[in-house]
């Protein structure tokens, strides 16, 4: 398989996942803000901070209000992480990988992009937002489902898998970090127990609320939620599950051994984490470490498969 094709599949998958995650994030954010007491200043702007896009936002907008943040997060084409940017990029990557993807995927991504561009105003105004975002999430899942039901488990599939897991794991660590930040901020500003609201929202943003309840059989608490999203071996959006998924895919690709070794070290760090110490000041440092490791992993993929330039070993 051509390195470039592999790279395009990897990005197709990442962008699709990013579009889905972003749509879900915005749609559950409404609910969160309704539930919080008025005196707490947790604003829409957290979505911008979550993506580390403050500088870009400041360049484009002056007011950090709902309208601007939602516009920036969903529609802004100068923001490479916006939902529309992700859909456009996914489409471009599918367009140039049509020979290795199921034929219907081109049609589906095309339709989705046309729909999203034509109806983006519904995402920005509050009244039809939920319906619009729900459609986007479902359409993304439809494409992911198509891949999963029709693609051979050859190299193309492994790159789709790796891209999806990396993007998910990246998003989950960002959500956890945002949760931790909100908790610290909230505690300073109010004496109410806001923990349940915040961490409940983190779960919903990851589509994890039901799985969490069934698995942990306990109320929502910071420690339990963080442990679940980091360490649960069976929930498909947990960091542990994602790393294991990437490990399996890498083991089936040429020269995957070093990648597997690197992922193993990350898995060890996740498993060794002590839940009880989670929410002291070091938790955000730990998440930061996980993020840096993910960046390393992404670079390692590039070196191993996308720009590998040694003569083939027969």
């Amino acid at each position: 398989m051509l390195s470039k094709v592999a790279e395009r599949l990897y990005w197709t998958s990442r962008y699709l996942e990013r579009a889905e995650n972003t749509a879900r994030l915005v749609s559950v954010y409404d609910a969160l803000l309704f539930d919080l007491p008025r005196e707490i200043d947790i604003s829409w702007y957290n979505l911008v901070e979550l993506n580390g896009a403050q500088a870009l936002f400041e360049e484009r907008y002056r007011v950090q209000d709902e309208r601007n943040v939602v516009k920036f997060t969903l529609a802004d084409d100068t923001n490479p992480s916006s939902m529309l940017s992700a859909l456009n990029m996914a489409r471009e990557n599918v367009r140039t990988s049509r020979d290795v993807l199921p034929p219907a995927s081109w049609e589906l991504i095309n339709e989705l992009r046309i729909f999203a561009n034509a109806n983006i105003q519904n995402g920005i105004n509050r009244s039809a937002r939920y319906e619009f975002l729900d459609h986007v999430v479902k359409a993304c899942q439809q494409i992911t489902g198509l891949f999963s039901c029709t693609m051979s488990r050859d190299a193309s599939w492994q790159f789709i898998t790796i891209g999806r897991h990396l993007e998910r794991v990246d998003m989950v660590t960002r959500l956890l970090d945002a949760g931790a930040a909100a908790q610290i901020q909230g505690e300073a500003e109010t004496n109410m127990a806001i923990s349940q609201v915040i961490w409940g929202n983190v779960l919903r943003s990851s589509s994890a609320d039901l799985a969490y309840r069934r698995t942990t059989r306990s109320a929502v608490s910071a420690q339990e939620v963080a442990a679940f999203l980091l360490q649960d071996p069976d929930f498909p959006r947990s960091v542990r599950f994602g790393l294991a998924g990437m490990r399996h895919a890498a083991s089936r690709l040429p020269h995957g051994r070093d990648v597997v070794g690197q992922i193993d070290r990350q898995l060890e760090a996740i498993d060794a984490l002590d839940v009880e110490t989670l929410l002291d000041g070091r938790f955000r440092d730990f998440l930061n470490e996980v993020q840096l490791d993910l960046i390393d992993l992404h670079q390692r993929f590039g070196e191993t498969w996308f720009s590998y330039d040694e003569p083939e070993v027969a």
């Binding site: 592999a6 590998y308 003569p311 083939e312």
Partner: protein, 483 residues
């Protein structure tokens, strides 16, 4: 209401389907009968079905605009163009003969130049050609073939005969549309294919693959064939992807390939470098290799010419093959055929006046209001004078240009391109002008497509068939007259 063929009037042009009001040409008889049985509603339903099919199959071409590139759906007319097998056979033989001679000519130009020494063509054909590549001198590609894939544009004049308008020996495109047109027609007019006498076209990708395999410098069981595209922004990208997919070949861009220290070409794969044997390149000569040609080209592969000259990779078409699709060379093709094959040309050229011949130039200058004047080295209809549609001022300007640089201009009579019935409104048939581009493959064997790509000028009275300028296309049928 059904179509009334008695009302259909080709206005004195040769019509491909209708001989005289209400009377179809014999090969088109069954098609016309079939269409006559449909009412307006049914015809409209079939037309809409074709449109939907094109959208579904994602057949598109790219149009460049200031606001970025747009993918447009392929404009298609559902009424097929029908050509009798006997007539086609003559054209096909003519095309085989023509490409054989052209390849011998190119091979000669890059080696002994015997044809120039013998005074059949003038030396300036090489000296002043924009497409002669000195880097190719002395090369002897397999089978002596330089132009492996050729798209020759044919037109039918008012006498109904085929004439060659031009030979495209560099990177001709359009063959994927020929294949898609047939696929669409099969879905839209399926009843017609119960007749078994419509010659199939679907084997082109397989024949192309065989042609490319035959060129492999390594005698291996499965040579690695790749299609080299300039990328997604090229107007023919759809075709590059289509052909790669149909042949099961990798679609690569320049950056996917690398030339090693051993002067072999490799592609970058997830497992490392993998040797490439044959490159079907859809990039112009000058962008192929920045080491040799255009230094700024990012589309090409540094060292590609080195690898080709060392005989480690085959390029189709070979670099420099374009030397023979110069419009001045065109005028000499009948002589070239007689010189190399000692045969009479079986398919005619359009009468061509060379402006560097004093007598011919005098004729051209006297008849500028009747002739079409073309620059020798431009393609795509740039810098032309169309005599009957020109002003006195334009004619004077061209007279000056011709006198200043006679070698650079040729002139041809204005042709009366043939027409065919085209669906222009709800159930309304009107004649529209068309041409035909068959594709000829040559390596060890020669293959000519059954028919080719028919392009049609959708605007009334227009002679411009380019898809970027209001042109569309039709399915092309070669049928046996006997049935």
């Amino acid at each position: 209401m059904a179509i009334d063929w008695k009302q259909y009037d080709p206005d004195g042009f040769f019509d491909e389907l209708i001989e005289s009001p209400g009377k179809p040409r014999p090969p088109a008889g069954p098609l016309i009968d079939y269409l006559s049985e449909m009412d307006t509603k049914e015809l409209e339903a079939r037309r809409q079905m074709a449109e939907a099919t094109i959208q579904e199959m994602g057949v598109s071409f790219t149009v460049y605009t200031e606001g970025g590139n747009i993918d447009r759906a392929w404009p298609f007319d559902i009424v097929p163009r029908v050509i009798g097998a006997k007539q086609w056979k003559r054209a096909e033989e003519g095309l085989r003969q023509r490409l054989k001679a052209l390849n011998m000519f190119i091979d000669d130009l890059y080696n002994d130049q015997q044809i120039i020494k013998d005074g059949v063509v003038p030396a300036h054909i090489v000296q002043k050609s924009r497409n002669f590549r000195k880097e190719c001198i002395g090369m002897k590609p397999a089978f002596g073939v330089w132009a492996h894939i050729c798209g020759t544009d044919l037109v039918r004049d008012s006498d109904g005969e085929f004439y060659v308008l031009e030979d495209n020996l560099r990177v001709p495109s359009g063959v994927s549309y020929m294949l898609e047109n047939r696929a669409i027609t099969k879905r839209v007019l399926p009843e017609l294919f119960e007749r078994k006498d419509i010659r199939p076209v679907h084997n082109y990708p397989a024949r192309l693959f065989d042609t490319l395999v035959a060129l492999s410098p390594r005698r291996v069981k499965r040579p690695e064939i790749v299609v080299l595209t300039p990328g997604i922004f090229n107007s023919a990208y759809f075709e590059h992807a289509f052909l790669a997919q149909q042949m099961g070949a990798e679609l690569v861009e320049g950056s996917d390939l690398v030339v090693g220290d051993d002067d072999c070409v490799y592609m970058r794969t997830i497992a490392g470098r993998q040797r490439v044997d044959v490159i079907y390149r859809r990039i112009d000569d000058l962008f192929l290799d920045p080491e040799v040609f255009n230094k700024d080209s990012v589309l090409g592969v540094p060292g590609l010419m080195r690898a080709w000259r060392a005989g480690n990779v085959a390029l189709a078409n070979a670099p420099g093959a374009g030397v023979a699709d110069d419009k001045v060379v065109y005028a000499y093709v009948p002589d070239i055929i007689r010189y190399y094959l000692d045969e009479k040309p079986r398919i005619a050229n359009v009468k061509t006046y060379l402006c560097d011949d004093p007598d011919q130039q005098a004729y051209v200058l006297d008849h500028l209001d009747e002739l079409v004047v073309k620059p020798a080295n431009e393609s795509g209809g740039y810098g032309m004078l169309i005599g009957p549609h020109s002003t006195k001022k334009e004619q004077a300007q061209f007279a000056k240009l011709i006198k200043e640089n006679p070698r650079n201009y040729i002139a041809q009579p204005t042709l009366s391109l043939s027409t065919a019935p085209t669906l222009v409104g709800k159930g309304r048939m009107e004649p529209r002008h068309l041409d035909l581009r068959p594709f000829i493959l040559q390596a060890k064997e020669t293959y000519v497509t059954n028919g080719g790509l028919t392009r049609v000028a959708l605007r009334k009275g227009s002679l411009v068939v380019n898809s970027s300028q209001g042109g569309g296309s039709k399915d092309t049928w070669i049928v046996n007259e006997e049935s």
